[in-house]
Symmetry: C2
Subunit: 419 residues, 2 copies
């Protein structure tokens, strides 16, 4: 096993030297071929997927998990469209980030280049295989993919099709590698190969991501969870606050940029809390209200439960919201820095000074003033596509697109300078 | 022990929320006070340093190590000057990196902000305590310092003086913390505290850096070693090549950007090798020459030894150079990507196409055309100061200054946008 994984990583590394210097045209030609092949081989993909679905049913996967696993002709067509969208994106490789000439005449160019070999560890959705392979290729990286065991047959055929697209267009097929086993031990081996692999991006539940972060010798870019917060200030436009809180909590509660906690300035709590509570309950939201705030619902018929300290640390991914009053802007910032996961945090206020204090004080990837937290993603941020979202601080923070799959190198042009 | 280290890290994290939003003036005021205190307390520093020197002598440290450890009034003055140079540097915090307005009217600002808490693990030189604390403070970070046991008394007084400068100017003293023990176990505990510490920068020998990289759960920015290479192309100006190779090898052989390997195109080897060999030997260099190249020195009296494969992977940090001929530009690139450490690599050629192929093909932090590798450092690159050099790819590659001690956050200005 160790030999197999090591050879695979070595081959990916060798391929990465070739992909790093490919022209945009040749990368796009491979991606064009991949989009065609996904369409041409729809029946083969469906057949492989059927094996995964059958095994999933036998193993008692929930309907929700089976749905995540399932391909349809439309979903396959959607993947091909996704590939074509990436073809249309600008190539980040070779961009000049900065340039300067030193007093001794040396000209320094900081140039964007691929990272090298990127490992992606993910769970059930097999379309991630194509999404990630395509973003890595477009950014000149080789990649090593390790999908969930439930999707093994689907992932295998998708990786084969990608390799065929590379081979058909004269590119190294080994630039995209799928770990050929679902054994956990393979992952442990992979995560130690820092000699060949330069970056690991885990995508999935918190358990998987923690396992990867704790066992990897290779740098990991990740977010464990999205505990997103909204603070409604004493100077908020309360109608606007209502619509932002409703949207951030209810529009799609199962995603990482949905709000989980609401902090309300005490001066407006007696007015705002009953209004927003009624509106949220109307959307089916369960309210968990800290004792400091619950009295504002006394005498109403609005159903609510008491919030525990633990609730404020929780990523519910569901129609549940924890609510608390705060005594000041500073308390709101402290609360968000204590409970939040540094993903997406918003203030609603009409006061610019208050807003700027909040925006600089909250320690988060994305700080919003008067907007819903739901906008934190690569498409909304104009990156064109997204390989993931980082709540880490090194290399990338927030939504990550093609540029975040790159590093840089210094190119130094001299005329014989010596020191 | 675990409790002590954990509390210290928690305190640094709490302080980091304050240092992150300090004005440039208040940071500079603290640094100004620090420079003064270093001068005022010169005798105290010398007394603490004397304890380390005495212990070092008793423990049989070499003269070279004792010299690295030793403070003099001039060296302390030099540290104070170093602090004043950092005061003069622009504050990276708050810079707008990018800005855009989305079709829905959201205005996105990617703003540079401190990383948070930075851990620095270093070895014998106690001046690193001040250098690192100052760069971390100027960039708005809290820092946790862990120096070598040989310099414990010197580091302790320097950390105390820094904390006094912070307290004297109304800043949180806990923004600079020194691990108060030389026990190895403390380091192991520290490296697991990813809850409070966001980045580890190890500085020292390869052994220390590998230990840190293998045991850290916190992201590490590092370079293991500098195996720097020079390729002299068939179209090189040979006089220029001679002066570059001589400078890169001989000017200061003990540093990470000195050259360790020389690759010579076979077409010019019979002319170039005897010339450069004679010049290097005249500088006291030991030549280790691969069998493919040694025949070019046949019939000369130039002393040389055979090179083994292992020699080409070696960071000699000494007047030793491994030499090999290559058959082509591609062979040179392959050799550098195989043997080098991705630190600094140079080509000498008059052909622009050849140069550009080399500059994009070598996978390195710093690729030079017609210049010595010795220029890879923060001062030469115009960063004003240097916290270290990275041969990693994530976050920072090459020399790291104040900007590389920062991350960014997205600030999103809305007018009520919901999704």
């Amino acid at each position: 096993m160790e030999g197999t994984i090591r050879t695979l990583a070595e081959n990916a590394r060798a391929a990465s030297f070739k992909t790093a210097t490919l022209s945009t045209d040749s990368k796009n030609a491979a991606l064009t071929r991949l989009a065609e092949l996904l369409e041409v081989k729809t029946d083969d993909i469906l057949a492989a997927n059927a094996k995964d679905l059958e095994a999933g049913q036998q193993n008692g996967l929930t309907q929700a998990l089976l749905d995540r696993l399932r391909f349809t002709p439309e979903r396959i067509q959607g993947m091909a469209e996704g590939v074509r969208q990436v073809i249309a994106l600008p190539d980040p490789v070779g961009e000049t980030i900065e340039e300067s000439t030193r007093p001794n005449g040396l000209r320094l160019v900081k140039r964007r280049v691929p990272i090298g070999v990127v490992g992606i560890i993910y769970e059930s959705r097999p379309n991630v295989t194509i999404d990630c392979a395509v973003l890595c290729l477009k950014s000149g990286n080789a990649c090593i993919l390790r999908g969930g065991k439930e999707a093994f047959h689907s992932n295998t055929i998708l990786a084969e099709i990608t390799q065929q697209a590379l081979a058909d267009t004269g590119l190294p097929a080994e630039a995209v590698q799928l770990i050929p086993t679902t054994d956990r031990e393979a992952l442990n081996i992979l995560l130690k190969l820092d000699e060949f692999i330069h970056c690991i991006i885990p995508r999935g539940g918190e358990g998987l991501i923690r396992f990867v972060a704790e066992n990897s010798r290779i740098p990991v870019i990740k977010h464990y969870k999205g505990v997103c917060n909204i603070y409604v200030d004493k100077d908020a436009d309360l109608d606007l606050a209502e619509s932002i809180v409703e949207n951030a909590k209810c529009q799609r509660p199962g995603v990482c940029n949905a709000a989980e906690n609401l902090f309300i300035h005490r001066d407006i709590a007696s007015e705002f809390l009953p209004k927003i509570a009624r509106r949220l309950v109307g959307n089916g939201v369960e309210l968990r209200i800290a004792s400091s705030a619950a009295n504002h619902l006394d005498g109403t018929d609005i159903p609510h439960n008491p919030a525990t300290e633990k609730d404020f640390h929780e990523e519910f991914l569901d129609l549940i919201l924890s609510v608390k009053t705060v005594d000041s802007l500073e308390d709101a910032i402290d609360a968000i820095n204590r409970y939040g996961s540094g993903h997406s945090d918003a203030i609603v206020t009409t006061d610019e000074t208050t807003a700027e204090t909040f925006l600089s004080g909250v320690d988060t990837a994305t700080a919003y003033w008067n907007a819903s937290t739901r906008f934190t993603d690569g498409f909304e941020f104009g990156l064109g596509a997204e390989i993931g979202i980082s709540t880490d601080r090194l290399h990338a923070r927030g939504p990550m697109g093609l540029r975040e799959l790159c590093t840089y190198k210094f190119i130094v042009y001299g005329t014989g300078q010596v020191k």
